[in-house]
Symmetry: C2
Subunit: 301 residues, 2 copies
């Protein structure tokens, strides 16, 4: 028997001391049990916040204005509420709760707003810097393995990154074209993948809206440390959406969206080796980074 | 010495268990101490909510969509975020925290979205039903007194209300004109005021937006019980923004914005008295309600 037959709430006369309880009672008749749980918890925490700081009518008005402007900043290419969620650490928390890992499994991080176009299919070893952007040349090598260390043959390795000035192709379509610094690779029979690129730069999130104002008023910066995005998947295994971060990048310990986990920081090693450079088809010296993605078994449904 | 010199946050690598603490640390450098307190508390309660319900990425996406649409529903005449705040009981909580009263002092309630035009100045005894709307005729009488019961001579009594179909003038400008069922009165030397009107109806809040969808999905209704708005003020005393509610109105115990306090419910008494009707200039029988507003001394600044 479901709880859908809960009688409608009555007696909702307002009292400050019981405010959360009174409002939560208005949601007692919510047919969907999960939605009921979410609304009840939301009301409880929201009222606790208002009481905790004893929010004034003027502050409440400022909050209403901020939320309204945040919604009105959104369009097809700008999602200011996601930025707000990112800069309050909520996106990262949701991602972490959804993707709890143990042992050697690769940790997840935020997907970010730039995975908006499909990465072009490329061959192992391809250079994803198709527009010939300036920057330090870099070879990325790695493997996709399962929790037991076994190779995941034919795994999909989707990568996207900013250029050496911190821009994604979709931000500079005239100069970078469509698909620059993106690639969809297929791991070989041993789970190995490799490609050529340039070292990405750290960059600021869009800061010309309400979220940017919030960051300035709280003396926070708007920067993310340098990173390459990965989405690694294979049938039967849990997809992991993550980054590798460039060790030594500025803002590594103050990412404005809290995306950095220690396990995801990688040395982009300077290699001075003519033979290796020739073998990879890059000028000597070059940077080299390795990333082994360890995927969990799919959760039973 | 201010705390402005707090060193900038460092070491903000994300960890699920300490997520609120890590994000709060990013606000340590906020120059304004009150804003710092608000952001710290907000982050703490927001993360507690996400963890409490273990919000999934799909639910988070639905939340982002809801907030975005709520912002985009707003324009000059529609404030959907205030509606959201109202229907989650937040507006009422903020109002109550700002206007804590004791003893016989008149309690506050939400101002609502219809106090958007200035009420026309009227003489004591005037009929605010200037458009001649159909409805039960009603005489409102009362006094404005201070906490000791002394008359507040010349107090301003601003009233506004819906008609017998639940509409304010600004919602039906063609039929009701501008200023119908509104009035700005000045109490006499004994603090007394009186005016003629019609009994207002209960009415629904605007429900064609995201907030309306939220109410329907949670099996809540969109109605407010019948009421007359008052804003009573006088120099040196605290302004009170409140309503009187019509005893016996539908939805009195389930106001969708949680505006009802028991002390604000009034009997709109049926009077069958030819002499009284003639004295007030209304047809017999008529309704009569009394409201004594008790104002506190202004808080010391």
């Amino acid at each position: 028997m479901s709880t859908d037959s809960t009688p409608p709430a009555t007696g909702l006369l307002f009292e400050e001391a019981r405010s959360a309880e009174i409002v939560a009672a208005s949601f007692r008749g919510t047919p969907d049990a999960r939605l009921r749980q979410i609304m009840t918890s939301l009301v409880s925490h929201l009222h606790a916040f208002v009481k905790d700081v004893r929010l004034t009518p003027e502050e409440w008005e400022a909050g209403i204005r901020f939320l309204t402007e945040t919604g009105q900043m959104c369009d097809e290419t700008r999602q200011e509420f996601i930025l707000l969620s990112d800069t309050l650490g909520v996106s990262m928390l949701v991602e972490s709760l959804a993707h709890r890992v143990h042992g050697e499994l690769t940790e997840a991080t935020v997907e970010g707003p730039f995975h908006v176009i499909a990465s072009p299919r490329r061959e192992l070893g391809d250079d994803i810097n198709v527009a010939g952007e300036p920057g330090e040349r870099c070879v990325v090598t790695g493997r996709v393995v399962d929790a037991e260390g076994g190779p995941v043959r034919g795994a999909s390795v989707d990568v996207w990154q900013a250029n050496a000035e911190g821009f994604y192709d979709v931000q500079k379509p005239d100069e970078m074209g469509h698909g620059d610094l993106r690639g969809m690779f297929t791991a070989d029979d041993d789970g190995r993948y490799w490609f050529r690129t340039i070292v990405p730069s750290h960059y600021p999130i869009p800061a010309d809206g309400p979220v940017g104002r919030m960051l300035r008023r709280t003396d926070r910066h708007e920067w993310r440390p340098a990173h390459i995005h990965f989405e690694v998947s294979s049938p039967g295994l849990r997809t992991v959406t993550t980054h590798i971060f460039v060790e030594g990048s500025p803002y590594l310990d103050s990412d404005t969206v809290f995306g950095v986990k220690r396990s995801l920081v990688r040395e982009f090693r300077l290699v001075d080796d003519e033979d290796a450079a020739a073998a990879y088809g890059v000028p000597n010296p070059f940077r080299s980074v390795e990333f082994v993605a360890v995927l969990d078994r799919e959760e039973p449904q």
